[in-house]
Symmetry: none
Subunit: 225 residues, 4 copies
DNA sequence: GATGAATGAGCGTTCATTCAT
DNA sequence: AATGAATGAACGCTCATTCAT
């Protein structure tokens, strides 16, 4: 699926960074390097020192872009949610039937990620693994309310809201659309993680598409009138 | 609900600790203090140094019990899952009707926790908050396979399995019981966290019982033949 | 060479220990275990904690015998020098010719050690490796004068003196017998260490008897009138 | 003896340090301070913490230069051997007679050290005491093979080789030149240490020049055809 | 006499961050 | 704007040692 061939870019809340990493060569190297390194060693072990040395730069330089490693992870996550919403919008455009729209939406949210040629600097496959394994740490955190007040969770809410709208189109009286959608998004992440690392906790294999099937079925039955 | 009035105790996999904290006064203080402190400042900020000073002991002493703070969190989580399974078993005993059993099981897993007078040293309310906010960090972790090989996730699997069995009693052909139950357990945690910290991401208020209602409904519809 | 079949024992200066390790089963296990462990991991890495756990005892128990690990190493070294003097005496008894006596003495001091069946609890081969690698640390030490005042170096001096006496018998006017003998003892240790670990620093192979040949030749030429 | 008046410097294998201490003011203070402190309290008691506080800096800063105290000691020792080789070369230049060359070489290796005005930051007298008391610890060590593979012992070998060459000039058939020279170097160190701390083990007084006399005599007799 | 429990002290290390250039 | 140097603070951990039993 190709959309706009490198002519667009995902905007990220500018409170997350001190200097926009998209605005310079070093900034782009920081993002690329961070994705590689977090994917490799995990967010707990990840430090600006290790990042700097992996891209042949210095800690001081990284600090020009991000206040701390938490905000760098927030940046990656926000970019991911923004990118996912962008893909969702493209997949739904000109599709009228709400059931077909729901189908496409849930697939977008739960199917395994493939490399996206529109954003060459970002390795979406690695980034997806990071979002699955690490992104919950951005809100399971004592300062979550502060981040929320900066609007860091808006892209996630926007994404959820788009799918909620489809659900309410199908069943305007359904009371818990947000709970339903966020349960599916987080749940799909969990299941993919379990499938890879703790297979006994799930019923599926890593490469199966049962995750999408399962959550689509769950939603359809839940919102039946 | 009273069961056995302090005469039983929850056993925890002895690979998690170096010395059983239940075996000494200091060990009990460590557990109590850890629950208070993690609940207060969060697991990232929690260190053995801070714990030691909060219970007027020393780091060296804490290290006699736990290899590191990760294992201490694992201990708390295992105790929690063990305790929850114990409660589940008591609530289901002598109940024949599978729908009634399912009802009770889901309530046990998703309802807000109240203090349990059977285990006076443990503050289950705080521990529940910790499990909600921090326990996912025990598997979202680079060494998850090692912990799994030590059997650290067995209590969780056992708990899930008990509810799976009820589901298969109702609908023997249902294909994804584990996915369904773990989605509900994790989902309920998420919703309670959102309700408290990120209200815009959910449809409920913190003290509402909508969470249980929602997941019970979800499950029943999902497993309908 | 058999001497007295377990009926004698080497006495060690009783200021080195708090309680004589030869006086109890645990004490013997401490000595045996210490030899094994120091030979395996080196004296720097060696601690009473590791020793205690390797012999299934406790640190507190080890402290009943030795004040610290330094004194334990001194004990082993003193035992070694005592044992070597005992062997020397046996080898020289009834030998009249001073050149033959010198020959035998230097061989005793510089030849590779073989297991001695007279002292079954002590592994002399390992102990010899320890003396070569670690024993210089007992005097290359800020408190060497204190140890000296306790007489810890007397067995070494006695041993050296015995060989000096032979040299003075051959050449009563020789001025530096102590320097000569201690140079040979320490030098032979060094050469054996180099041969094993830093071969480029020496001219010999580990199992060659060139070390003895070399030092014997050196001494004979040095003391020629 | 003046050579080049501060215009040259001794190069040290760059695998010993993380950042060349000669390249900054702080680096030089670290070297100076380390020499003072090790000479004063001994290498066992010496820590980066104490060093840092003695030069009014921080541990973290010291760690930018050296990975650990072992490598700092290696640095000092390598510098010493490099410096000694440099002095040896100067003392031998334009001297033809091999016996005169041998004489000068052995004096360089065994005579007491006097302050060298060419290298003002280094206190060679203290450094010599350190080399005598501590430098054997850099090879009497479990990781000696690793250090050797990094080439840490090359300056020592080079120095020894230069004197071996003189010996082979005098007696081309002599079989153990390396053993002879390293025996003398290490032996002279020992004797100076004994003379100062354990006088009963040697035949000399601390300030006597008998050490040089003794080893020169030993060598000459040993290599006589 | 031997052991189990506990602890004070300090080490090596790393981190996040700042300052000067 | 980017970097090199330096640092304060804290962390995880282990050690030697003592006390109570």
């Amino acid at each position: 699926m190709e959309y706009l061939g490198g002519k667009i870019s995902i905007d990220v809340n500018d409170k997350v960074f001190l200097k926009d990493p998209r605005s310079s060569k070093l900034g782009n190297k920081i993002i690329e390097g961070a994705i590689d390194l977090i994917d490799e060693i995990g967010f707990e072990e990840f430090t600006f020192r290790k990042l700097a040395s992996s891209i042949n730069s210095t800690e001081a330089s990284v600090y020009r872009y991000f206040e701390n490693k938490h905000n760098l992870l927030v940046y990656l996550t926000l970019w991911y949610w923004g990118w996912l919403e962008y893909r969702l919008v493209f997949r739904l455009v000109n599709v009228e039937d709400p059931y077909e729209r729901l189908d496409r939406a849930i697939k977008t949210l739960t199917e395994p990620i493939k490399q996206d040629s529109d954003f060459t600097q970002i390795d979406e496959v690695k980034l997806n693994r990071i979002v699955i394994s690490e992104s919950s740490k951005i809100y399971l955190h004592k300062l979550v309310e502060l981040d929320n007040s900066h609007g860091f969770f808006k892209p996630y809410k926007d994404l959820v809201q788009r799918v909620c709208d489809i659900i309410l189109e199908i069943n305007p009286g359904y009371k818990y659309p947000h709970m339903l959608i966020s349960t599916c998004i987080e749940g799909a992440h969990h299941q993919r993680f379990f499938a890879e690392h703790l297979p006994r906790l799930t019923d599926i294999l890593p490469d199966e598409d049962a995750v999408t099937t399962f959550y689509l079925d769950l939603i359809k039955k839940a919102i039946q009138k």
